[in-house]
Amino acid sequence: MASEGLDRRAVVARLLAGDERLPVVLGLGATTWDAAAAGDHPLQFGLWGAMGSAVAIGLGVALARPDRRVLVITGDGEMLMGLGSLATVAAERPANLAVVVIDNERYGETGMQETHTARGVDLAGVAEAAGFPIVRRVADQAALEAAAALIRAAEGPVFLAIKVGTEPLPLVLPPRDGVLLKDRFREALLGHR
């Protein structure tokens, strides 16, 4: 049951914590709110829309900046819309990219309707079949700790599917301005807009 899964806010805060601040692409909705709750930062590029594109955008950042570890954190609904991007990641095999799906088996922004992961679709299995060299299914704290280390150190691409609960959480919003989010991300990553 997804309602018995990990605390999504604690999971995202754990994944973002580390000595080096990583450039992060966040899928629309709850994962963007989760990252804002952990502390807004210019290197956190949250998609207020563009559903289905988080992994593809993260792939572009990772290929452009092979000197940096790049993290995508998105939800199961957003990932399901962009499944094809997993094939392109696997084909390109960027060693510096990690994709994390925070899976509550629900469309959180639209009324908690079930997504296909609630009906048995195995996103980690899709990533494995596509050819991701490192895939983990995470459902408890011990597995989370082991998986979190992979994001910053493993020869990727890495794919983590993390089951979380469905408890309602307060909205914590980053800036709403897409131009600002883009400009500050580029400034933080490149030193210029």
Partner: protein, 168 residues
């Protein structure tokens, strides 16, 4: 596409500073895809649909690269959601290189919708564009497209047809 037109397009991309190209193969532009893929100065990322290709380009631009997406004009319909969301929403420049399937000279009935939709859709998306029907213009138009894209922080499209594709 004629080989000298493909060479002109590649020269335009390189002179524009474009060093990252994503694309989905298209029969008209096949040899341009091959030239880009083989070029050591350009990172080429083949994709499975054009929406992914546009998003990959947007991410690469966030990471500091100058980017282009190369595709059949039908692919604009697939990419449109991400052009709207990412570029209208945030302001991200990507040069779009499109074959103008369905333009004069095409022999395929299935390209009818491609020609009907492409220009109205570019206008709806507020993407500036130029149709290139003479291969002597191709190199300069691609460079100008990149300049405008960077100036306006918006995609700019180059539609490729006419004697870029055929001798007559």
């Amino acid at each position: 596409m004629l080989n000298d037109a493909a060479q002109a397009a590649l020269a335009g991309l390189k002179e524009a500073g474009i060093d990252f190209v994503s694309g989905l193969p298209d029969g008209w532009l096949r040899n341009l895809h091959e030239l880009i893929d083989a070029d050591p100065d350009i990172r080429y990322v083949p994709v499975c649909n054009e929406g992914v290709g546009f998003s990959v380009c947007a991410g690469a631009w966030l990471g500091g690269r100058k980017t282009a997406l190369i595709m059949e004009n039908s692919g604009l319909r697939v990419a449109a959601e991400y052009i709207a969301r990412i570029s209208i929403g945030c302001g991200v420049p990507v040069v779009l290189l499109l074959s103008y399937r369905g333009d004069l000279g095409d022999t395929e009935h299935w390209s009818i919708p491609h020609a009907i939709v492409v220009e109205p859709l570019l206008k709806t998306l507020r993407v500036p564009y130029q149709i290139v029907r003479h291969r002597a213009d191709l190199r300069a138009v691609i460079k100008r497209a990149q300049r405008l894209a960077e100036a306006q922080l918006n995609p700019v499209a180059v539609l490729i047809s006419g004697d870029c594709i055929w001798e007559d």
